[in-house]
Symmetry: C2
Subunit: 109 residues, 2 copies
DNA sequence: CGTTCATTTCGATATTTATCGAAATGATTG
DNA sequence: CAATCATTTCGATAAATATCGAAATGAACG
């Protein structure tokens, strides 16, 4: 993970509908959800959702696969973990700051 | 942490100079860095940096304090951890998905 | 193999965001 | 208390992003 990958990923998540979509997919797990299901649950037009799903996919945060007539989207957990690791990289210059930031050391090394 | 807090935080990080600034501060640790030092290191105009620092602060990702003539900015590690936790909340509906996503379970519960 | 249906693309518009020099601010220091 | 200096605000401009209906796409099903 580098800044050129992290910026689109963060930007993809920094929007109401995309964040809601992503969290829905995180909670859905590897099975994912059909685009239409997401549109219905979030009550947003299909064309708007398609725009947002494309950005999440472009950022590498979600994968897509076809199932029957539907396109199923699923969160890419490896990408999420890479992003979280990137944000905490070299935390406190490698010093111990576990007390102040429990997850801080997770991304170090 | 909720979406209304997470969106500005993610948006704050989704920009080249702000992400670079934030990572600099994560690595600097609790001591933080003066605004001028950051501007010099990143080679961006003071007014531009001020604009970006204001957004990071508004999003709650950094704190500011005065030291002599300088204003010192420091990463807020608690805010970072809250954000990371929010992104992994209710991962896989609580099922075990540790193998696919090491950090996934960290934010559950 | 024509129909159906979920999804995506298009297009036009409105909104938000980034940039940076110049000027203002305001706390500090001698 | 005047001068200095780091930082922020202002203002004007450019660029990127969000919205959503209508039309197009194209895979699937009978």
């Amino acid at each position: 993970m580098n800044a050129n990958q992290a910026i689109p990923a963060l930007g993809a998540l920094a929007q109401e509908h995309r964040l809601a979509t992503y969290r829905l997919l995180v909670q859905a797990g590897p099975d994912g959800l059909a685009a239409g299901t997401i549109a219905t649950r979030l009550a947003i037009p299909a064309s708007s959702l398609s725009f947002h799903l494309a950005q999440l996919a472009e950022a590498g945060l979600v994968s897509q696969r076809r199932a029957g007539r539907s396109v199923i989207y699923a969160a890419d957990f490896a990408a999420m973990n890479a992003l979280l690791g990137f944000l905490t990289e070299n935390c406190c210059a490698g010093e111990d700051c576990t007390a102040a930031a429990p997850l801080c050391q997770a991304g170090a090394d």
